[in-house]
Amino acid sequence: MGTELGKYKACVSARSTNKEILKRSQDGGIVTQLFAYALEEGIIDGAIVAGPGDEPYRPRPFIATTVDELMSARGTRYNISPNVSWIKEATRSYGLDKVGIVGTPCQMQAVRKGQLYPFGWRDVDDKIALAIGIFCMENFPYQSIKQLVEDHAGVSMQSVKKMDIGKGKFWVYTERGATVQLPLKVTHKYEQPGCHVCLDYVANLADVSTGSVGSPDGWSTVFVRTKNGDDIWGKAIAAGCFETKPIDQVKPGLELVSKLANEKINKNQKTVEGRATFGVDKALRNPYIKP
């Protein structure tokens, strides 16, 4: 295992000790629990999360300043929520001095670029108090998810209780208890194209990153990455927010995380390279070389 998992100080399998959080969380309720703790302790004044939007399972970025608001955003929605679009507004209209933000690996990249190169993010760089990253293989436009759920799975969006990607399948659970599964092969063509040049699976640039892969059902794998993340995670553990298990004592463990990370990175690295010869003596732009 090498650079595919990024730098980290610790890696554990964990879940929230709060039953209310776990009722509607995607896996171990890590993001909701850590933000709730940080909010109550004044480590953050609010958090930018993907909350419920105008249509079922269409996320809308919003700024949660209470635990109740955080609770409304539990669970994964598997389509695009431009959380970073609120990063300056959080410090302005909302007047937050300590901002929490959750996002995909690319959104964590955006946050860190914005801290080092703040072109239009005035006075934001030192106000990002907790950036939580979520593992991500790829994302979908809302219309893609709708197509998968309504057309392929034959379930109306209103009746979906939970969506999940795991064990090589896309799962749709309905409020009435039915379960529909689609092979991931079906979902690939609906993926957001911009995801195919992404070289990060486990949110290498977050303070703390988390995802289901590597841990048993109902638990999440957690990487603690920065000094700041280490500090907050340590306090949350001391406060009894999480149950944890050493990652080398759970199945399927870190090896699976590593395998999937390498798969994503290698596949997308090829896509990036392929862009150089996409046309006849004409290349597509490579953001990793120059603007």
Partner: protein, 272 residues
Amino acid sequence: MATADVEKKAEITKKEEKPVAEKITVGHVHMSGCTGCLVSLADNYDGLLTILDKYADLVYGLTLADVRHIPKMDVALVEGSVCIQDKISVEEIRETREKAAVVVAVGGCACYGNITRFSRGGQPNQPQHESFLPVGDLIKVDVYIPGCAPCPQLIRNVCVMAYLLLKGNQEQQELAKKYLTPLMQLADRGTEACGCDLMIDVVNQGLCMGCGSCAAACPVRAITHEYGKPNVNREMCIKCGACYAQCPRSFFNFDVITEFEGISELINGALQ
């Protein structure tokens, strides 16, 4: 008693004049801009004072340094676009290129024309002043800091990195070079910017992943997201270039950004 006072005063003066470290020389060259970029530099507050104490001498700057003509300097921070009907502006920007080792275009006007792109003249008391060009259309520009106003923190970072590039040890010079590279590449990329860049160079190129950075960077709130992709209200766009530069899919230099923790500490440490 009086003599003692004078002596004491002389001593204090002498102490202040003692050369601190080897500083770089920086000038602020004011073309047709609103002074917002200069205010942004000043908005670093005590950070600016630390920069002036430790790293840079301000050798030129309208209202800030009592110097009439553009002197020789290491870094020229140029604000504003150049009115080509104004002889003095044209002379001064040419002179800036001759006298400065590094020319930095600070802000949307200097980089891309920004709102001065919409000028057709006709304003008292110089109605014939109608054509405003980004600095890069008249001279070679080395580094771009787009945005309206450019963020104080980015101007600060560039100042610290410019110092490290010119006066640092080898390791620091390498870091500074890596940090400044994309800003130099932006300068090479051209003198036109618009919210359309998000469409042309990001979405059309299959690179957008809907993070929202552009909307957060836009100073006039011209960008919203529809189903996860940017939607630019082009009537509102002032052509400052912040959105495209901010986009993690315009440039993303892993060798620098991955080191965000260390570099942030370095910059904060430098300003203590």
